[in-house]
Symmetry: C2
Subunit: 648 residues, 2 copies
């Protein structure tokens, strides 16, 4: 009948971070901070204390951190996660009679109320504080047992305050009913710079490119400062129903087709397109890239061309139609007869899952650690949950980037079930308020605990309307925003570098898209864009404040075309302030406000800011500071901020 | 290793109502509607269908209600709870291949795409739809097997659309992992009108009042339309350290003391103050009140005067101090030496809990069903959870009103653990935006599922600042707001009726408070306030729209002093529109907007509104309508709204 712990008077609710009621772990990367909050309250006016308990999964002993009350019964404590493992945490809270007594004693003593009995109570409390003999406590008892006024003075001293703090009076504590998880991944999950190119367009001589050509491009990619080189699918391309230039339904003879129509008589998802080279060439590319600190990312597109070997070998993995044909992809009335989707409702679903997993592990065994997953939202979410957890249990430091440009809850779900990084709506967030709302949602909502954004200003599928038929200003601006707002970002590189801005009329797609043809890029050329990319990537590497998305805070600036935000390390040893002019056509200016509380600035301000691209520098002695940006010079400032020591 | 149901492709998340992850049930009262929402999504473009499953706890078979997609992957379905029991609900969702096929077929047929194979697929789907022979399905198959163009026309017909709707193709369904609870209580939990008076001031002759005097007042209370008569504690009052007039530390001889200082040599929590009468008198009061449809509410104040019998009989239930004295209540440096709180951390806590429960059940056995619980936030929340659940398991239709004027999360927690109704911040919500924000929080946030507000414009403890030294306008306004915004409301009656507006200087307390003395009220007098109370309570009873707090919706009205809101039954058979002028000193006017969507109004509006107090009536043919209110006439309109049938 009576099941409760009768003397436990404290309630602990709403513990965060907690993803879907603890169904999924919260995510962090090595070295990050976990801010734990909870609603904690009891009855009456007695003082509460609370502590956060955390440990690595493999450890036995809990670490304790005192929580502090912020406001409205919310309590906070933080811990860092230096190790790549799973951390567990929970919370304990109790009515602290020692602290309650201490507070009451002070108020009574200050009001000259008689405290003879209170002193006796204090002695009893002190004696109960530790089971073992403790010198500080024994000393305190003897102080309290001295003459009345001496005892009062002692309790009112600084030393006694510290004693109360150091000796929590833990009794009848409430233990939060769950133990929650934080999965800690390697740093690259949180900080990476992606460059995408089609290897078949990598030739310097205008032929069909090969992995060897890509190897020759590595110094170029590395000198620009990228650390992930992502190649679209490298497998044999279907010959049946192959698509032609500009997505024509029929390819002309000799047209190469789309790399996402995977599989032919030359092999499937574990094979290499013969025109690109051999498996050994690919492995050579991986190892050469490693020398430059670059990871080669593989595209995972779980779908088949009609001539993919699976279609014959495993007809049970595809939907068979009543006329004996295989179901192709469609979005009625449109038909995509070059693509057969897998039927995940196949009776042989388990064999299918296992085979698809083996595709991923095959490539990991060749040296791949990073996968960009094509349209994961068109395959069952439970499949991803299973396959990613399987792979992670066997291999470490694997990154899965979800290419799901779809509805918000579906994108969220893919991130929750295990995707390391996700493409985002950044591509279409143009105006000041849009950018601010989206960033604040990513950083300050529940999303922060599972969704790691990777910002792309373009992809082979997307040339956004507002970049069409536009000059270089908007390309520079959008790149700078992507690379500074988010710690993970990428670009579909060669066309971006050279401002390719010609769309299929009325669509957000490229005209003469590289998806359907081999392109010739002038790989030997560099330009202003190349220089800015190089400088910003260098700045990203050198400034730890830019290694995180989560430390971002917008700063007030009045003009609707001006955007300002700050990123800083927890210890303020590295501070970056970005100010951008979002209007590519005209100069704008405004006063930007320094976030005084975050920067721990007093009333006398003395801050040095230096633009890391132009080397312009200013000393700011006011909270609000004038900034002017001409997009035809440079549409943004990337300031390093230095706080003058004497005012720290 | 593989634990998931491999073919189930649908995700169900964020199911509501769900209080603290299902830790507590959601609350409803008999006849109310439960709106169930969930985030439901799958992969790709296949069509989903979902159904809500619900049943009474004691039944075996689930009822099914089709859910419909609203927006952003949120789905909705509702059910009504006609019975006073616990209802269970959960959700099921699946990829519906029949619906997907149907949608694709229509698009292809309209685009003149060949659908010979699709027709064959349709036949297969129809044959799989029911395990038993079904005439409609057989007929459909034979229609599809007719000539090509006939078959197409058949699928495009209205009849086929209905067939698709009537035959969900349930396969590989996802079942939400939890079964959630809705506790349904009796109607009075949601609709009650409280009048508070001190029985010791009930005498018509100016003597110490008795229960017999209260019986003589019943016709008066009933004629005003109240259905709960709440009396402060009726037990013997402590004689030791008794408080005097205006909360003086020492009572003069003959002063009656505060009824909340319970217990003396005359008895404790199960005894009756001898000056009020006998237990039989009290039972007589209960039975006489019942004849008028009035419940007598008892005050539960779990605390003791120093001479309460418990103090001697159960010293273990109190905190003993080192000098041999018992710990009195305090808020340092203030001392409340007339009150001993129970020590809920007593080693004998279980005996204490059982005894306190027996206090409640003792009074239930005398005929009491409604308890106003004094300061529940100063007793452990786990105790309330236990005692309320114990009482509810033995007795039905008991109401516990939590008198917790404290921090929001503590008030929420008391409601979650079982209190039927709660005092609120309404008492201090004066301005338009404050009232709107607070009401919207109560009605449209999670709070709606556990926190039933009971609005009081005053209590014996609270004469709000803005009603001090003010005339009758503000009293009329605040009463009208309380009684129409909330379906549960109450007033500390006699002083409210007669506009007692004199405070203890600088405090929100009454001067010469009835808490510390016997007052003489002119019970034979009535005034304009009495008349308005009578009319509004009559209106409340006669209009089902006012039996709920949850059907409230604010209407736009421009003036910052004007507030307008609508309440309507689900079927729109009863609609009330309240418009109030919040400024007690001046006339204001504005245009109020009819909520067209809620009222299902088309472009041609023809609405009759009649003020139920003044009988003024208007015909409104516009969406925005002029309203003017002079507080010196009446500060509000209480319109009954009638929709002209031809435009329904």
């Amino acid at each position: 009948m009576i099941k409760v712990k009768g003397k436990s008077r404290v309630v602990i609710e709403n513990v965060q971070p907690q993803v879907d009621q603890g169904l999924y772990p919260a995510k962090r990367t090595v070295g990050e901070r976990v801010d734990v909050t909870a609603d904690i309250f009891g009855d009456g006016h007695d003082h509460l204390r609370a502590q956060l308990l955390y440990r690595r999964q493999e450890d036995h002993h809990w670490q304790h951190v005192e929580m502090r009350h912020t406001y409205n019964d919310t309590w906070l404590a933080s811990f860092y996660v230096p190790d790549k493992t799973v951390y567990l945490f929970t919370i304990q809270a109790w009515v602290d009679h020692f602290d309650t007594w201490y507070d009451g004693f002070k108020k009574k003593a200050h009001a000259n109320v008689d405290v003879h009995v209170e002193i006796k109570e204090g002695v009893l409390l002190l004696k109960g504080l530790s089971k073992e003999k403790n010198e500080r406590l024994s000393l305190a008892v003897s102080e309290l047992e001295r003459e009345y006024s001496t005892a009062i003075a002692y309790v009112l001293s600084k030393g006694f305050e510290k004693l109360v703090h150091d000796f929590p009076h833990i009794e009848h504590e409430t233990q939060y009913e769950k133990i929650l998880e934080v999965v800690v991944e390697h740093a690259k999950a949180n900080f990476s710079s992606w460059y995408e190119l089609f290897p078949r367009s990598a030739s310097l001589e205008g032929k069909h490119g090969t992995f060897k050509d890509v190897i020759r491009l590595l110094p170029r990619v590395a000198s620009m400062g990228f650390d992930v080189l992502y190649l679209p699918p490298i497998h044999p391309i279907g010959k049946v129903n192959r698509k032609g230039k500009n997505n024509n339904v029929k390819a002309e003879p000799g047209e190469p087709g789309s790399p996402w129509a995977i599989g032919s008589d030359e092999g499937g998802h574990k094979s290499i397109h013969p025109d690109l080279g051999t498996l050994d060439d690919y492995k050579k590319l991986i190892s050469e890239a490693k020398k430059y600190g670059i990871d080669i990312a593989l595209d995972i597109a779980f779908q088949c061309a009609p001539d993919h070997p699976y279609v014959k070998e495993h007809p049970e993995w595809f939907k068979q139609r009543p006329d004996g044909s295989v179901q192709y992809a469609e979005n009625p009335p449109k038909k995509y007869q070059d693509i057969y989707p897998f039927n995940f409702e196949s009776d042989q679903w388990m064999d299918l899952w296992v085979e698809l997993k083996s595709v991923i592990t095959f490539w990991i065994d060749q040296g791949v650690k990073i996968f960009r997953v094509d349209n994961p939202h068109t395959k069952p979410i439970p499949f991803w949950q299973w396959v990613i957890s399987e792979v992670n249990s066997e291999y470490s430091d694997v990154i899965f980037l979800a290419e799901a440009f779809t509805r918000p809850k579906v994108m969220a779900s893919l991130a929750k079930v295990g995707f390391t990084q996700s493409y985002t709506y950044f591509t279409w967030r143009i105006h000041k308020q849009e950018i601010m709302d989206y960033m604040n949602e990513l950083v300050y909502s529940q999303s922060r605990n599972y969704f790691r954004p990777n910002f792309w200003p373009n992809t082979p599928d997307i040339l956004p309307f507002f970049m069409q038929h536009q000059g270089e200003n908007i390309f520079i601006l959008r790149f700078a925003l992507a690379a500074t707002l988010a710690s993970n970002y990428g670009m579909y590189g060669p066309v971006y570098e050279f401002y390719d801005n010609v769309p299929m009329e009325g669509k957000e797609e490229y005209y003469n898209s590289e998806k359907y043809e081999v392109k010739r890029h002038d790989w030997k050329k560099t330009n202003r864009m190349t220089d800015i990319i190089t400088l910003i990537n260098k700045t990203r590497k050198e400034n730890p404040a830019l290694h995180s998305t989560w430390n971002m805070q917008f700063c007030h600036i009045e003009d609707q075309n001006m955007l300002a935000f700050l990123k800083a390390t927890d210890d303020l040893s590295n501070i970056i302030l970005v100010v951008a002019n979002l209007d590519p056509h005209a100069k704008h200016s405004g006063f930007v406000q320094l976030p005084k509380e975050r920067l721990k600035l007093g009333d006398r301000i003395n801050v040095k800011v230096r633009d890391l691209l132009t080397d312009e520098h200013y000393t700011w002695t006011q909270e609000w500071n004038y900034v002017e940006l001409d997009p035809f010079k440079l549409p943004f400032h990337l300031f390093k901020v230095e706080l003058h020591e004497s005012y720290m």
